[in-house]
C-alpha cells in the first residue's frame, strides 16, 4: 500500500509544473555555476603557478618567503570563505606571518555579490523548492476533498504521511538528478579539475548533506501542511519559516556572536604586541650601540662582516620574540576568534541552512576550520624553522641565514588535512541535529495528522 501511495504521489508531482520548474532551475544554476567555478579554479592555478605550490616558497633566496597551501579542489562546489581564505602566508625570518591577502586594486563586485555555488543553490533554492513541493501535500488534498476519499480506504494515517514524504522527496530528488549528473560530468570532464579519490568522496558527502538538508525542508513542509487547513495558510507559514531559517538566522548569527562574545579588536592586539616589544627593543638597541662602540664607534666605517653581525643582533632578537611572546599573543587572539566562531555555529544550529553551510565548507576545506588549521600550522612551522636556524647558527656561527633564507633549514610544512571520515566524525553532532530536525518534523506531522479532522 505504501508504495502504491508513493507512486501516486510521484506521478502527481511529475505532472505538476513545479517539477519542471525545479528541473529548470537546477539545470540553469547548478551546471553553469560549477563550470564557472571550475574555470576560476583553473585560472587561479595558471595565474599563481608556483606561488601556490604547497609548502615553503622562497623565489629569490632573500629574506622574504611564502608558506603556501593548495587551492582546495572542492572550492568548485563550496566556495566557503572564498577570497578571504588564506592561501599564502607572507613571512620574513624576523616578521610575520601575515595571513589573508586583500588587494588594493581589485574588482570590488565579488565583495558585494559573491559566487553562486552548489551550497548556495541547495540552501536558498533547494529549500524554497522543497516547500513548493510540499505546501499543499495535506492541506491541498483536504481542501479539494481528496483526502477524505483516500482515507475512506483502509490506510493508516501514519502510512499516508510517510508516503507523502517519500513521494514528494523522491520526485524532488528526481527533478534535481539531471543537474547533479551534469555537475558530476563537469567535474570529471573539465581539464582544470583533477579530482582525486578523497575529493570524490567529499563530493559524495556534499551530495548526501544536500539531500539531508532538502529532506528536512520537505518534512517541514509536510508538517506545516498538516498543521494548517488551507494551502494559502500553509504558504504563509512556510514563507515565514523560510525567511527566518534561510535568510535571517544564518546571516545574523555571526553578528550576534560578535556582540555576545566580543573579541579584542585588531588594534588592541597591535597595542599588546607593541607594549611587549617596546621594552625589549630598547635593550637590544643598546646592545647594538655597544657593539658599534666596541668596533670603532662608527657604523659607517665598520667592515661588512661587522655590519652583518650588528644587523644580526636585531634580526635574531626579532625572530625569537616573534616565535615566542608575539606568537602567543596571536595564538590567544586566534583562539578567541575560534571561540566566537563556535558560538556563531551554536547560535545558527536552529537553522538547517546554516548547519549545511558550515558543514559543507568544512568538508571542502574552504571554511573557518580550515583557515584556523592553516594558521596554526604556520605558527608551528615558524617555531620549528626558528629552532633549526638557531641550532645552525650555534653550530656554524653563520648568521647570514637570517636574511638569506635557506630552504634546507626550513622544516617540511605540514598542513593537517583531516580525512573525510575524520571530518564526518568530528561533525557528527551537526549531522545528527539535521536528522533530528527531519525526525521531529515527521513526528510532529504524524501527531498533528492523527489528531486532525479529515
Amino acid at each position: 500500500m505504501l508504495w502504491t501511495l508513493v507512486r501516486k504521489e510521484i506521478f502527481g508531482q511529475l505532472l505538476n509544473v513545479r517539477f519542471y520548474i525545479s528541473f529548470a532551475l537546477a539545470c540553469l544554476f547548478l551546471v553553469p555555476a560549477t563550470y564557472i567555478l571550475a574555470n576560476d579554479y583553473g585560472w587561479m592555478h595558471t595565474e599563481y603557478g608556483p606561488y601556490l605550490t604547497e609548502g615553503l616558497y622562497n623565489p629569490w633566496g632573500l629574506e622574504r618567503f611564502w608558506v603556501n597551501r593548495q587551492i582546495p579542489p572542492l572550492r568548485v562546489l563550496a566556495t566557503g570563505l572564498d577570497e578571504s581564505l588564506t592561501l599564502r602566508s607572507h613571512n620574513t625570518v624576523s616578521d610575520g606571518p601575515d595571513f589573508g591577502e586583500s588587494q588594493f586594486v581589485h574588482n570590488p563586485l565579488s565583495d558585494i555579490l559573491p559566487h553562486l555555488d552548489f551550497v548556495f543553490f541547495v540552501n536558498m533554492v533547494g529549500s524554497l523548492l522543497a516547500f513548493a513541493f510540499t505546501y499543499d501535500a495535506v492541506s491541498g488534498e483536504r481542501q479539494r476533498g481528496i483526502l477524505r476519499l483516500t482515507m475512506a480506504n483502509s490506510i493508516s494515517r501514519a502510512v499516508l504521511i510517510l508516503s507523502k514524504f517519500l513521494g514528494s522527496y523522491l520526485s524532488f530528488v528526481i527533478s534535481l538528478l539531471p543537474a547533479l549528473i551534469g555537475v558530476v560530468l563537469v567535474l570529471s570532464v573539465h581539464p582544470d579539475v583533477g579530482f582525486g579519490v578523497s575529493d570524490w568522496k567529499a563530493t559524495l558527502w556534499l551530495f548526501v548533506l544536500a539531500l539531508l538538508n532538502i529532506g528536512v525542508f520537505v518534512m517541514l513542509g509536510i508538517f506545516a501542511s498538516c498543521v494548517t487547513r488551507e494551502p494559502k495558510t500553509t504558504l504563509t507559514a512556510l514563507m515565514t519559516i523560510w525567511v527566518l531559517l534561510v535568510l535571517v538566522v544564518p546571516n545574523f548569527s555571526p553578528f550576534l556572536a560578535a556582540k555576545l562574545h566580543p573579541i579584542p579588536a585588531l588594534h588592541q592586539v597591535h597595542e599588546r604586541i607593541k607594549s611587549l616589544s617596546s621594552s625589549r627593543d630598547d635593550e637590544v638597541r643598546k646592545e647594538q650601540e655597544e657593539y658599534v662602540k666596541a668596533h670603532g664607534g662608527d657604523h659607517g666605517s665598520m667592515s661588512q662582516q661587522e655590519k652583518d653581525e650588528h644587523g644580526a643582533i636585531w634580526l635574531e632578537y626579532r625572530m625569537n620574540l616573534q616565535v615566542k611572546e608575539l606568537t602567543q599573543v596571536w595564538e590567544a587572539f586566534f583562539n578567541e576568534m575560534e571561540a566566537q566562531a563556535k558560538l556563531a555555529r551554536y547560535l545558527s544550529l536552529i537553522s538547517p541552512s546554516a548547519i549545511t553551510t558550515y558543514l559543507a565548507s568544512d568538508l571542502s576545506h574552504t571554511g573557518i576550520e580550515s583557515e584556523h588549521a592553516f594558521r596554526f600550522a604556520i605558527i608551528r612551522f615558524r617555531r620549528e624553522f626558528a629552532a633549526n636556524l638557531t641550532r645552525y647558527m650555534q653550530q656554524t656561527g653563520d648568521k647570514t641565514k637570517l636574511w638569506f633564507v635557506d630552504n634546507k633549514l626550513a622544516p617540511a610544512f605540514v598542513l593537517p588535512r583531516p580525512t573525510i571520515s575524520q571530518v564526518i566524525s568530528t561533525h557528527l553532532p551537526q549531522f545528527i541535529v539535521l536528522v533530528l530536525y527531519g525526525f521531529l518534523c515527521f513526528c510532529g506531522a504524524q501527531i498533528t495528522f492523527i489528531r486532525s479532522a479529515i
Partner: protein, 403 residues
C-alpha cells in the same frame, strides 16, 4: 475617481486585516531593528579601528600619509557595500611603483573578519533586496487569480468597472498596504539611528538616506507588480506562486551572482601579485627613469580591472537586485564608484608626491549630487522594470477570462 478610491480603500482594508500583512509588519520590524543594532556595532568597531590607525601614526607617517585607510561611512549601517574592504589599512612603500599597483593592504587588516565572510551581511539593503522582495511577491501573487478562484472577480466585474481601473486599484491598494506594513519598521530604524546610535549624520546623509528609502520602495514595487502580473497570467494561485517563485529565484538569487562570475571568466585579470612580478621584470636602470613606464602599466592594469567590474555590473543589471544594490550603495557612499574614486585619489596623490609636489592626502567623498547622478542608470532600470511589468499585467488582464 470615486469608484477608484472606493476600490483602493476596499483593497487596503482587506489587506491590512489579513494575517499576511500583520506577519510582514512584525517580521520587518524585528529584522530592521536587529539589523540596525548589529550593523551599528559593526560600524563602531570599524570606526574604532580607523581612529586607532590615525592616532597610532608617527608624525612623519601622518605628514606623508604613507599609511592610510578610508574612513568608514556612517550610512554603511544601511548599505555596507564595499566599505569594510576599502577601509582596511593600506600602506605605500617607497618601492611601490615596482610592485603591486598604488598601495599594499596590510596583511593582517582583515583579521577577525572570517566569520562574517561565510554569509551575506544582513544590512537594510539585504533585508529589502531578499527578504522583503520575497514578501512583496508573496503578498501580490493571488491578487487577481485568487479573486477568480473565490469567484469574487466575476462578481466585481458585473459592476460597471473598467478593467484598467480595477487593476490600478488593486495595484495601488496592495502597494500602499505593503508600504504601511513597512513604515513602522523604517521609522523605528531611523529613530534608533538618531537617538541611540552615536553615528554622526548630517543633512547630506539624511538626503542620501531618503534616496535609499525611495529606491527601496521603487525596488519593492517591482516585485509587487511581478506578483500582480503573474496573477493576471494564470488562473490558479498555486500556479501563480510557483511561477513567481521561479522568476524570483532566477532574478534575485541567480542572475546577479552568475553575471559577476561570467564577467570574471570573460575578462580575466591578473592578480596584483603576479602583475607586480611582471613589473619587476620590466625594470631596468634607475627607478626614476622607469617610474612613468611603471605607472602607465599600472593605469592599464587598473583599466582592465575596471573593465571587468563594469562588465560584471552590466551583466548583473539584468536583475533588479543588482541595480538596487549598486544604486543604494552609491547613495550610502559605500559603492563601487566610491571605491574607484578613492583609489584614483590615492594614486594621483602618490604620483604627485613622488614628483616632488608634496601635499597632504585629503580624501574627498563624492558630492551628494554626483552620487545621485551616478545611480541614475540603475534608477531608470528599476523604473523601467516597473513600467514593463505593469504594462504586461494590464495587457494580460484585458485579455483575462474572469469567469
Amino acid at each position: 475617481m470615486r469608484l477608484l478610491r472606493t476600490l483602493i480603500q476596499r483593497e487596503l482594508l482587506e489587506n491590512l486585516t489579513s494575517v499576511r500583512y500583520v506577519l510582514t509588519s512584525i517580521l520587518c520590524l524585528a529584522l530592521c531593528i536587529t539589523s540596525i543594532v548589529l550593523m551599528s556595532d559593526d560600524y563602531r568597531r570599524r570606526r574604532a579601528r580607523y581612529n586607532v590607525l590615525m592616532s597610532d601614526m608617527t608624525e612623519e607617517e601622518l605628514k606623508r600619509s604613507l599609511r592610510f585607510a578610508k574612513q568608514p561611512q556612517p550610512l554603511s549601517v544601511i548599505a555596507r557595500g564595499v566599505d569594510e574592504v576599502m577601509g582596511r589599512p593600506a600602506r605605500i612603500h617607497g618601492w611601490q611603483p615596482e610592485e603591486e599597483p598604488i598601495a599594499h593592504v596590510d596583511g593582517r587588516s582583515a583579521e577577525g573578519q572570517h566569520l562574517f565572510d561565510l554569509f551575506t551581511i544582513p544590512d537594510f539593503v539585504y533585508i529589502v533586496g531578499l527578504v522583503l522582495s520575497a514578501f512583496a511577491i508573496f503578498l501580490s501573487f493571488g491578487t487577481i487569480c485568487g479573486e477568480k478562484q473565490t469567484h469574487t472577480l466575476s462578481l466585481l466585474m458585473s459592476h460597471p468597472i473598467r478593467r484598467s481601473t480595477l487593476l490600478f486599484a488593486k495595484w495601488m491598494g496592495g502597494y500602499i498596504s505593503l508600504l504601511i506594513s513597512l513604515c513602522p519598521a523604517i521609522l523605528l530604524m531611523l529613530a534608533f539611528l538618531t537617538a541611540f546610535s552615536d553615528i554622526p549624520l548630517q543633512t547630506a546623509h539624511w538626503i542620501r538616506l531618503l534616496g535609499i528609502m525611495a529606491l527601496s520602495f521603487v525596488y519593492l514595487l517591482i516585485f509587487f507588480t511581478l506578483g500582480l502580473f503573474t496573477s493576471t497570467v494564470v488562473h490558479r494561485p498555486a500556479t501563480a506562486l510557483i511561477l513567481v517563485l521561479f522568476v524570483w529565484a532566477v532574478w534575485v538569487l541567480g542572475m546577479p551572482r552568475i553575471g559577476c562570475s561570467v564577467a570574471k571568466g570573460l575578462r580575466p585579470i591578473q592578480p596584483n601579485f603576479t602583475f607586480g612580478l611582471q613589473k619587476r621584470a620590466v625594470r631596468q636602470g634607475s627607478f626614476e627613469e622607469f617610474r612613468e613606464l611603471l605607472w602607465n602599466m599600472d593605469d592599464e592594469y587598473i583599466a582592465t580591472v575596471d573593465a571587468q567590474t563594469r562588465m560584471g555590473q552590466n551583466l548583473s543589471r539584468l536583475s533588479p537586485l543588482a541595480s538596487y544594490v549598486y544604486a543604494s550603495s552609491t547613495l550610502a557612499q559605500t559603492g563601487i564608484v566610491d571605491a574607484q574614486c578613492f583609489r584614483r585619489q590615492v594614486a594621483d596623490w602618490d604620483r604627485e608626491r613622488r614628483r616632488d609636489r608634496y601635499s597632504l592626502l585629503s580624501l574627498r567623498a563624492l558630492p551628494t549630487a554626483q552620487s545621485f547622478l551616478e545611480m541614475t542608470t540603475d534608477l531608470i532600470l528599476l523604473l523601467s522594470w516597473n513600467v514593463l511589468l505593469f504594462a504586461g499585467a494590464h495587457v494580460a488582464f484585458l485579455r483575462y477570462d474572469v469567469r
